[in-house]
């Protein structure tokens, strides 16, 4: 009796990775207006958004300024570091 070989059906597996976050930490040096300009230049934020994130850094010690794919997140961190801001890359849990 001919027995056909078992066939495996491949189910597409979609793994959803948690997004990567760019976090800016407070520091003892950066001037508030400077941080606002840096957020606008690097992240393309409008001034009110940039001011809101700056105040969050100032008052709470940190702010998540970007959440998404790893590659742009890394680029944003490098750009923020070039503006001498205390930026970190972190994967959301």
């Amino acid at each position: 009796m001919h027995q056909s070989a078992p066939t495996a059906t491949l189910e597409p597996v979609t793994q959803t990775q948690p997004p990567w976050c760019v976090i800016v930490l407070d520091d003892p040096i950066s001037v508030m207006s400077y941080v606002v300009v840096a957020f606008m230049r690097v992240l393309g934020m409008k001034q009110p958004d940039a001011e809101r994130h700056m105040l969050e850094v100032h008052e709470k010690g940190k702010s998540v300024v970007f959440s998404g794919e790893r590659e742009p997140a890394e680029a944003y961190v490098q750009a923020l570091l070039a503006w001498k801001l205390n930026a970190r890359l972190q994967q959301a849990t």
Partner: protein, 136 residues
């Protein structure tokens, strides 16, 4: 407005060489050598480390140019097209000034401490002036 012009009195000009020392194009401030034993808390240490990692020679060249100009003419002339570069350069200089004070490399005495505060605030004021021009 094509450029921002800030004038300084002679006493300020005479102090510029001490700032120029902080603008050398090499890893600066023994923060990494002295490490965490020299009053650098972990966050500040990381922050200074970021300065060393991301320090760009263009920022330093701009700084040296601005400060040399200030020493010679008593004026800082910052073209509008250079506002972003000047902001980053001033931020770098404030980091280095801050680090130098923390590790005791510069300004260890009382009078020098006043000088540190003076420059630290003055550079912040310059940043604020530039930012005001940008933000309106």
């Amino acid at each position: 407005m094509e450029a921002l012009v800030v004038k300084f009195e002679p006493p300020v000009r005479s102090c510029v060489p001490s700032l120029l020392e902080l603008c050398e194009d090499r890893p600066h401030a023994g923060a990494l050598h002295h490490g965490r034993n020299h009053n650098l808390d972990a966050e500040t240490f990381d922050f200074v480390h970021a300065d060393l990692v991301t320090c760009q020679s263009g920022d330093l060249a701009l700084l040296r140019g601005l400060l040399t100009q200030l020493q010679i003419t008593g004026e800082l002339v910052i073209p509008v097209s250079k506002f972003d570069d000047a902001l980053r350069a001033l931020a770098l200089l404030r980091i280095r000034l801050h680090t130098a004070r923390l590790v005791g490399q510069a300004y260890p005495g009382q009078s020098e401490r006043h000088l540190f505060v003076f420059w630290f605030d003055l550079l912040a004021n310059l940043q604020n002036i530039i930012c005001s021009a940008i933000l309106g």
